[in-house]
Amino acid sequence: MVAIASYGAYIPTFRLSRQEMSQAWGIPGVPGERSVANGDEDSITMAVAAGFECLAGIDPASIDGVYFASTTPPYTEKQCASVVAGALDLRKDIFTADFTDSIRSATVAIRAAYDAIESGSAKSVLVVAADNRPAEPETMWEQLLGDGAAAFLLSKEGPATVRGFQSVTSDVIGPWRRSVDHYVRAFEPKLETQYGYMASMVAAAKALAEKESLGPKDISKGVFSAGDPRAHAVLGRQLGLEMPQLQDTGFLLLGNTGTPQVLMMLAAALDAAKAGDKILVANYGDGADALLVEVNDAFPAVPGKRPLQTYLMTKRMLPNYNAYASFRKLMDRDRFVPKSSPVTYWRDSKMELALYGARCRKCGTVQYPLPRVCVECGTKDELDEIKLPRKGTVFTFTLDHLVGGEYLSTPVPRIVIELEGGGRIFMQMTDCDPKEVSIGMPVEFTLRRLHEGAEFHNYYWKCQPVRGG
């Protein structure tokens, strides 16, 4: 048996009204808004955020593997799952892999995790999926896409079981990006909808239902990925499901988040599910995957763990299209690139990515970064590495107009944080209105892409106002 032990989702703080996007270009608009990853977010940072939600209350040392699924991996050559594993502070002797090149890779990774557990090669595998797909400016794609992430922990045991995989492969061209393309390209949509989406999804879902002897009335929820809400509704009808049985795609509030979409929808479905529910999941992309999720027990409540709804509600609207253009670096600018070094980045990764500090055995002072000699009592080499909490309060701050920052990110709030449980750390604040920063304000930490020094992605932590806090 393979089960979902836990799950979590992440939606970036920022949203942009599609009206703003249509006005910016003078092109038709569709209703609603989309999620927009901040300029310091990418698929790795969003996957890490979802991963933390998923692993709330779970010992990271119990994880045997991480699969990262995305069509927008920040590295073309270099694994992303290993970065995620480092930030989540997982064991070193685990199996990591990236699943990419198709928005279907989320369920491909779920199936691989399922197979690993079923075969006994792993006891628990974390699947993280994230995307922030590049949309060509002045096209409808900008309005249709959205950014987000989800994470699922598959294990031998858990409140919901997974089974009955059924896949279809299909070589319909659409959507695609060659290695030389900057933006998502699309096929003639009508043709793709009929011969790609509809054909593959119906075939996979029907085959699964047949294999599991499920009629439309046995299905509590249908979680079907979809880029186009109309096609989604048609698919539901073809499978004999009523509208209330269809899990919303998030089209109006998020947009099509690509690879993580199906898992974000499943997370939302599980947030509302009750014992006995059967959830039929089908995911499109160069064919389709279908699987059945059966809820046996309620998922345990974990203090501090946030449902997808919290991420949906805690949002900040971007004032205009310029903000989106700036986050996405759509305009060429001569940007200051700080110096960096792969050597120090590698050597300090435990401190930088896994966020370890130290506690003095003699005086108990918590300190960061890890020193050789205690900053308080001067004792040498009697410091134990400790995992720092990812929250604290603002001790003092400045709003820096001089160094760093871009449109909407200037001034940069630079914060001295009193860590929960003692110790100090110094970080930028992100995803905030600088005017709201005040001494004593609670903050939580979020991994972000800090800069591109030495031409690699330099990830580090920033703080942000507590979402849903």
């Binding site: 400045t398 107009h401 160094v403 001034p411």
Partner: protein
């Protein structure tokens, strides 16, 4: 410990005009300042036995060659001193020890910086390591300002009074970078740099050089300023944390390096009540908040009362304890490596009654306070007339 009290004398001082000196380079500035100091002391370059030159940035100069090459004093023992913004006064400390030890009779301590040649606005940033990225000087001191606002109820207007006072003093000084008086309103309306610090809360980015001729009192007695040379009553250097933002318990309401250096200097000079015994001081006002915090750290005022004391005029040239009669870093300018020696230039001339700008009345003891880094390095020197 014998220390250097009354064992070291300043026999001559020199200082260039500070400012955005586009048409001159570090060689021009250093030669001007050193030759002025030599003329003031009545000696020639060949009389210099050794030198220490304070330079912060490698683009200004590296090695003792920064002094030897422009002066064409080939073969002399010269060392470049780098200790953040306190580099200049640390050059003086090294020079003092050499003459006090009797190794040399006449040496030069000087400092120079050519910030304009870097071509960046604000001090150059490295900021590479993710953990340290983007920590600018204004941001560091703004962290202190936010905390003081929170703890003591200080306001932006309190900071503005410091800038207004220092500009008022600097207007009178022919060598100051800025020669313009400003109002509280000007300060409050200036663009933000690192909140709560605006442009007029920040010192000037300047080019400049300064130099002092250092010897022993018995030799100074035979030189040009035999009747009015000044002696060191104390010099102390304290180096504290490089990373106040990480230091557990750091309260940001002052700087431990200043407190430590001041305590050592007062002890060496035999000063019990600095507020009464120090006649005036040139203190490191890299930012307006720094001057207010320095006042508490140096024991001139109960720390939370510093803002009120400035408003009450305590630190005006006519006040109880004039601070920065030159205009300070704020108005006179802050070519990093030069500032420590520029302070010694000013304090010496004030004590001799020949200040270029505003003259403090009947000074007995003058203090110079040079702070560096994120408040991690502090040098305090107390000068006076020989007893």
């Amino acid at each position: 410990m014998p220390g250097i009290k009354d064992r070291v004398a300043i026999a001559g001082v020199g200082c260039t005009k500070f400012g955005e000196i586009w048409e001159k380079d570090q060689e021009d500035l250093l030669v001007e300042a050193v030759y002025e100091a030599l003329d003031d002391a009545g000696i020639t370059p060949q009389d210099i036995e050794a030198a220490w030159v304070g330079v912060m940035y490698s683009f200004t100069g590296m090695s003792g060659g920064t002094f030897v090459e422009p002066m064409k004093l080939f073969g002399k023992p010269v060392t470049r001193v780098e200790n953040f913004c306190a580099s200049g006064m640390d050059a003086f400390r090294n020079a003092s020890y050499a003459v006090a030890a009797g190794v040399y009779d006449i040496v030069v301590a000087c400092g120079v910086e050519k910030l304009m040649d870097e071509g960046s606005s604000g001090l150059p940033m490295e900021g590479g390591h993710p953990v340290m990225s983007g920590t600018s000087a204004p941001a560091m001191f703004a962290l202190a300002a936010s905390r003081a606002f929170h703890e003591w109820g200080w306001t932006k207007e309190d900071l503005a009074h410091v800038a207004v006072k220092n500009h008022k003093n600097g207007v009178a000084h022919p060598k100051a970078h800025f020669r313009r008086a400003i109002t509280v309103d000007d300060v409050l309306k200036a663009p933000m740099i690192a909140e709560p610090l605006g442009r007029f809360d920040c010192c000037a980015m300047s080019d400049g050089a300064a130099a002092v001729v250092v010897t022993r009192p018995e030799i100074a007695k035979t030189m040009k300023h035999k009747d009015d040379y000044v002696v060191a009553k104390a010099n102390a250097l304290a180096v504290d944390t490089l990373f106040p933002m990480w230091r557990p318990g750091f309260n940001w309401l002052g700087f431990p390096a200043t407190k430590k250096a001041a305590a050592m200097a007062y002890e060496e000079a035999g000063i019990k009540d600095p507020r009464k015994e120090i006649s005036f001081a040139e203190i490191h006002d890299c930012f307006t908040i720094t001057e207010l915090l320095n006042m508490g750290d140096l024991g001139f005022v109960d720390p939370p009362k510093a803002a009120e004391a400035v408003r009450d005029g305590m630190t005006e040239v006519e006040g109880d304890i004039p601070l920065n009669p030159s205009g300070g870093l704020k108005c006179f300018g802050h070519p990093i490596g030069a500032t420590g020696c520029r302070m010694l230039y000013e304090v010496t001339k004030q004590l001799q009654g020949r200040a270029d700008g505003m003259q403090v009345k009947n000074p007995r003891l003058g203090l110079a306070h040079n702070l560096g880094g994120p408040a991690s390095v502090c040098s305090v020197t107390i000068l006076g007339r020989p007893d």
